[in-house]
């Protein structure tokens, strides 16, 4: 009722998300239970268990691209931003058109002694976000990246 008064559709219709262009993957991010947001990566004990993040890539896609788990790649987003080098994790646990990274790595401050420049930062690659037209929530899993082989 309130939505209708403001001129919005009271029962919003599903809009299909954009498909990634050919060669691009949708960049997803999330948390690992070992680390808390981006604040514990430099902790001596926790850094020992998860030192850097990996970019999850579907195992069939990885095979097609000739990538193996543990190889370093860089990610380049649609705006030309290139990430720090990051390890590939070829896995069945992700769909073929997306890549996933754990948030909080790729720190650029030398003061984070244990984690400085380890892994790649997902937020560096999130140069675009979408806003829900009705409730204003921001969607940040809307960036597309290509995988650049490390020279």
């Amino acid at each position: 009722m309130q939505l209708k008064e403001k001129g919005f559709d009271p029962v919003p219709k599903f809009t299909r998300p954009e498909e990634p262009p050919a060669g691009y993957f949708r960049l997803l991010f999330g948390r690992a239970p070992v680390h808390t947001f981006s604040k514990t990566q430099s902790n001596r004990y926790l850094s020992g268990m998860m030192e850097e993040n990996e970019v999850w890539l579907n195992i069939d896609v990885a095979r097609r691209m000739g990538l193996k788990s543990g190889e370093y790649v860089k990610l380049k987003n649609q705006d030309g931003i290139i990430s720090n080098k990051v390890k590939v994790k070829a896995t069945e646990r992700i769909r073929t058109d997306c890549v996933y990274m754990v948030h909080g790595f790729g720190q650029r401050s030398k003061m984070y002694r244990k984690t400085f420049h380890k892994g790649a930062s997902d937020s560096q690659l999130i140069t675009k976000y979408k806003t829900d037209p009705i409730m204003g929530g921001t969607g940040m899993n809307v960036n597309f990246v290509t995988i650049e082989l490390e020279a």
């Binding site: 239970p33 004990y45 896995t91 073929t96």
Partner: protein, 179 residues
């Protein structure tokens, strides 16, 4: 005679590795080594995959090859609960036990002796749970006596589907995983 063991609910484990940290802190495990660890196993093909996250450690086998192969008797069964322990003063660091363990649960301590999970027997003898069990945020680990049919661990094995690791090695492991 008690037979101590663990039952671990893999459907609750999130793989946070708090158990690993708790063990390292409780037992002064040197940096870079661990007595317990977390394994993630994914089977199947996307999107129908089965995921199992397990916290693994010494299985304190009833028929332990590490005890029978030890040339000095350093590797032994403890009087209480059949827990497999290493007497650091008798260990000569020959690593026969490491080679015989199907679970790869032992490591050489930088001071020269072999070290492994003790089920935190120093805590258990005081009536406490092992450190890993006591810190688990999802309460997915249970420690108890399998010889007592009324213990929590025995009841879990009676009521839930479970498996042990590498049972074909024939060592009668005492850690079970609920699925």
């Amino acid at each position: 005679m008690a037979r101590y063991g663990m039952v671990i609910d893999t459907t609750k484990c999130v793989g946070c590795q708090d158990c690993v940290i708790a063990c390292q802190a409780e037992n002064n495990v040197p940096e870079g080594f661990c007595r317990d660890w977390v394994t993630t196993e994914a089977n199947g093909k996307f999107p129908t995959i089965e995921l199992e996250i397990r916290t693994e450690r010494c299985n304190h086998c009833t028929d332990a090859p590490c005890v029978s192969c030890c040339p000095t008797g350093a590797s032994h069964f403890h009087d209480v609960g059949g827990v497999v322990l290493v007497n650091h003063n008798e260990c000569i660091g020959c690593k026969a036990c490491i080679a015989s363990c199907p679970y790869d649960a032992r490591y050489v301590h930088p001071e020269g002796y072999v070290d492994k999970c003790t089920f935190c027997i120093h805590r258990v003898e005081k009536g406490e749970d092992p450190a890993c069990v006591s810190v688990c945020p999802t309460h997915c680990m249970y420690f108890g006596d399998f010889d007592d049919p009324n213990s929590k661990v025995s009841e879990l094995l009676k009521s839930r589907r479970h498996h042990s690791l590498i049972p074909e090695a024939g060592t009668k492991p005492n850690i079970y995983y609920l699925t």
